[in-house]
């Protein structure tokens, strides 16, 4: 990582930069080579995000108003919910994550993207696979395995798409320049290699040579948690490791901490899957091992958190100006909260209450939205201007996007956690009727629907802003869009 590079600067103005002209031009060339595929990934991701948001609102309202459209088979709650989940996981999060990962890899390998058409084809296939899968779910073809609802024919398409994408990534690594492999590259390479193995193993063990009985659930949750940690988590952390030092213009605090953090992360978080099935019909050692692994994830969380914090030390005021930094730091903090909550709800004494409640939904959203999605938003605010050669048009829209997202996801998680704990407490008290537990949570579910409105606003604002950029309606300026006018005192050195 080149720490001398000036942060927050426009991409192609070599005159202002202390780095050599050659490097500036080289970087501009790399950016240009990634333009088409990365923008294609981003555009598709954002379309999926909007669709997923609408589905989410629908699901949320239906949960407390069950008679809504209940006569239409493909709009029944039990179909729209997995459709929403899969649109968000495979449509939005995976595509946006891959877009960011591709750009980061090209930058960090310091090589122009070869064969961009391969990637465009991959993105096309991926879109087709997600469309097929979501259509299948709505038509009643769901497999019934949570997180793996896509029918096998859609899974195959996704896999073909993925092989196109990964073959490119391997190619890129072959042509890299420089000996050092930066932290972000560890995480991204990990994600790119873990995902196909994970997906293939789950598909094989569930559909090709299916395992018996409860082992299917074990494989399913092993897949789900690893997808969360080793795919999304790895991309998210890798992106944060790039964006934070880059924007503030300071090298990562400690390389050694990062090494420890990465390997303990790979080792422990991959073992957490059975934490979702506490006291289920499994040999107790499996669940205990996962709980222990979940507790041990405190090590990578602490090292990564400490590393980011020490890197940011003294530079926190920059969050006032840089959209990228603001989103990324929020995401990084959420990662710590997400992991802490994961440890809490995996403990047997807590899981007793919250295992079958909305609190587990809060946990997933904390990981996929408050952490991953926010980091990816941050990276998009950094990358898109470098691809389209324009700056973001309205600082006010970025602020609206940020605050609507933060309040939306914050409200949602508070509602689901508080409601989930109450629901669990009532459910654990056999002297109360069961319906008491579901009645208790209804007001919280209505609150969650409110948060959905905030998130919908935030996503549509972002999509509109992104659309402006895509059609070349961004600002032509040599200065990036700051959230607030830059004050002269203090911070100017870094901006």
């Amino acid at each position: 990582m080149d720490a001398t590079e000036i942060p927050l600067k426009a991409p192609s103005i070599p005159a202002d930069a202390p780095t050599s002209d050659v490097e500036q031009i080289e970087r501009a060339l790399i950016d240009a080579s990634t333009r088409v595929p990365v923008l294609m990934f981003y555009t598709s991701a954002i379309v999926w995000l909007l669709l997923g948001t609408l589905l989410a609102g629908f699901v949320s309202f239906k949960l407390h108003s069950p008679d809504w459209f209940s006569n239409v088979s493909f709009l029944t709650w039990g179909r729209v919910r997995p459709a929403h989940m899969n649109v968000m996981v495979f449509g939005w999060a995976s595509m946006a994550g891959m877009g960011t990962a591709i750009w980061l890899m090209a930058r960090l390998c310091r090589t122009v993207l070869r064969h961009p058409l391969l990637l465009v084809a991959g993105a096309g296939f991926w879109n087709f696979g997600v469309l097929l899968g979501v259509g299948g779910i709505l038509m009643g073809d769901s497999t019934g395995y949570q997180w793996l609802e896509f029918p096998p024919y859609a899974a195959i398409v996704l896999f073909v798409a993925y092989s196109l994408i990964i073959s490119w990534a391997v190619l890129m690594f072959r042509f890299r320049r420089g000996d050092q492999i930066y932290i972000t590259q560890w995480y991204l390479l990990g994600a790119f290699l873990w995902f196909p193995w994970l997906y293939a193993a789950a598909q094989l063990m569930l559909f090709v040579v299916p395992v018996q009985g409860v082992m299917q659930a074990a494989v399913g949750w092993w897949f789900a948690n690893n997808l969360l940690f080793l795919w999304f988590g790895a991309i998210g952390l890798g992106t944060a490791y790039y964006m934070i030092p880059k924007v503030i213009g300071r090298p990562v605090y400690s390389y050694h901490l990062a090494t420890i953090g990465f390997w303990t992360y790979a080792l422990f978080s991959s073992w957490t899957g059975m934490q979702r099935l506490v006291d289920g019909p499994f040999p107790a050692w499996m669940i205990t091992a996962s709980i222990a692994a979940t507790i041990l994830t405190i090590i990578p969380v602490a090292t990564v958190g400490l590393n980011h914090h020490m890197t940011m030390q003294g530079y926190f005021p920059l969050m006032r100006y840089s959209p990228t930094l603001r989103f990324t730091v929020f995401g990084a903090i959420s990662y710590t909260v997400f992991s802490a909550l994961g440890v809490l709800i995996s403990l047997r004494s807590v899981a007793r209450y919250v295992n079958f409640t909305q609190a587990s939904i809060a946990y997933s959203h904390l990981g996929l939205y408050a952490f991953f999605t926010m980091v990816i938003f941050g990276s998009m605010y950094y990358i898109v201007p470098r691809l389209v050669g324009r700056e973001w048009r309205y600082a006010s829209l970025i602020k609206l996007h940020f605050w609507a997202s933060v309040y939306g996801i914050g409200l949602m998680i508070l509602m689901l956690l508080a409601g989930g704990f109450l629901q669990g407490a009532n459910m654990d008290n056999p002297s109360l009727a069961f319906s008491e537990s579901t009645q208790t949570i209804l007001p919280y579910l209505r609150g969650r629907s409110l948060s959905g409105i905030l998130l919908t606003v935030s996503h549509f604002v972002f999509a509109f802003h992104f659309g402006l950029m895509l059609f070349g309606l961004g600002r032509t300026s040599s200065v990036p869009t700051f959230l607030n006018p830059v004050e002269t005192e203090g911070s100017e050195v870094h901006i």
């Binding site: 997995p82 019934g144 409860v214 059975m274 040999p283 587990s360 939904i361």
Partner: protein, 353 residues
């Protein structure tokens, strides 16, 4: 970090560790179980399910029932699932031997369903629940004191009248099922009628009988609490096939607090052509179809109900310590049909009469 090789090796190594540890080794341990049977090789549990029931499982999966209903009972020391009467013992890997997909579930916006089939009224219990026999259930309970005759009178019995062979479930397996369901009813006419309401009254206030009554009441909501369980005339007994159909069609007609969406798209509302279909559901109140119309479950709805009624983990397993009184009657009662365990509720109730 320098060098790609150690990085890639580490990435593969950590993942292999997790893959082997959490899927391959457990699969060696619990991935090749056999059904449990006694010394004579009878009393096999669990048994594979019938085709209709298997189709019902896919209807259950396709419509996302799993996102609100779990199918796993946790041990008594781990949670209060057993106190809630969701089961008499904790679930074990062997219970799910033939389940594909296995539908353990992760959410309880609705009650656990591991044993919902067991809560069905006694008369439907020994039969493999063939849904076409179900409309016969409630009329039989209210109509005649001679239950041996009533199924024959009801048009649903295919052995009696060949006319309704055109009904949506023309499985030949139906007729033996229907006849076995009438057999115990003939044996003990009084006992088998609206079982949960009879058994406490019958003086046989054994622990098990009381338990089975409360088992029926437990997850029915306050609206259907004790008084409600004594099925009013015209209303199906709780957890019978007719009850399930009504619940799927109109959840809030059964429990006012229910949060469940209606699954009306699994039912067909049609004009009665000629004779009323034998499968048509008896609805009262606001759900009743207008005169000249009838509401008929589709094949999928029948499969789903068959699946729900097949959910029963009450059979004792050697590897699970059950609650003692609950486990013993199941073991003690001899002469049960090989596949279905006799319910503890049925045998003491008969004895008490």
């Amino acid at each position: 970090m320098k060098g790609l090789i150690p990085l890639v090796l580490g990435i593969f190594g950590t993942f292999t560790f997790s893959w082997v540890g959490l899927t391959v080794i457990p699969n060696l341990q619990i991935g090749h179980l056999d059904p449990q049977m006694d010394e004579e090789g009878t009393d096999v549990y669990p048994a594979p399910k019938s085709g209709m029931t298997e189709r019902g499982r896919h209807v259950y999966a396709a419509n996302g029932c799993i996102y609100c209903h779990s199918q796993q009972v946790r041990a008594d020391y781990a949670a209060s699932d057993i106190d809630r009467k969701w089961g008499e013992r904790r679930s074990a890997p062997r219970d799910y031997l033939f389940d594909r997909p296995v539908l353990l579930g992760k959410m309880r916006m609705g009650p656990d369903l591991s044993n919902i089939g067991k809560r069905a009224p006694a008369e439907e219990e020994n039969a493999s629940p063939a849904p076409s026999a179900s409309p016969a259930g409630p009329p039989a309970a209210t109509a005649s004191p001679a239950p041996a005759k009533s199924p024959a009178a009801s048009p649903a019995n295919p052995s009696a009248s060949p006319a309704p062979a055109a009904s949506p479930s023309p499985k030949p397996a139906n007729s033996p099922a229907a006849s076995t369901s009438s057999a115990p009813a003939a044996g003990s006419p009084a006992a088998s009628l609206p079982a949960p309401s009879v058994s406490p009254a019958g003086g046989a206030a054994r622990a098990v009988a009381a338990q089975s009554a409360s088992l029926g009441a437990a997850s029915a909501s306050p609206a259907a609490s004790p008084s409600g369980v004594e099925s009013k005339p015209g209303e199906p007994p709780p957890y019978s096939a007719a009850w399930h159909h009504r619940h799927l069609y109109s959840p809030r007609s059964i429990s006012i607090d229910s949060n469940m969406p209606a699954y009306r798209f699994l039912y067909e509302k049609r004009r009665i052509a000629g004779e009323r279909s034998p499968d048509a559901l008896n609805f009262t109140g606001s759900d009743a179809p207008p005169a000249g119309w009838e509401i008929v479950p589709t094949y999928d709805a029948n499969c789903l109900v068959a699946y729900l009624m097949s959910l029963d983990q009450s059979h004792p397993l050697k590897e699970v310590k059950g609650v003692a009184p609950a486990a013993s009657p199941g073991l003690a009662a001899p002469g049960a049909p090989a596949a279905a365990a006799p319910s503890p509720a049925a045998s003491p109730a008969k004895g008490g009469q």
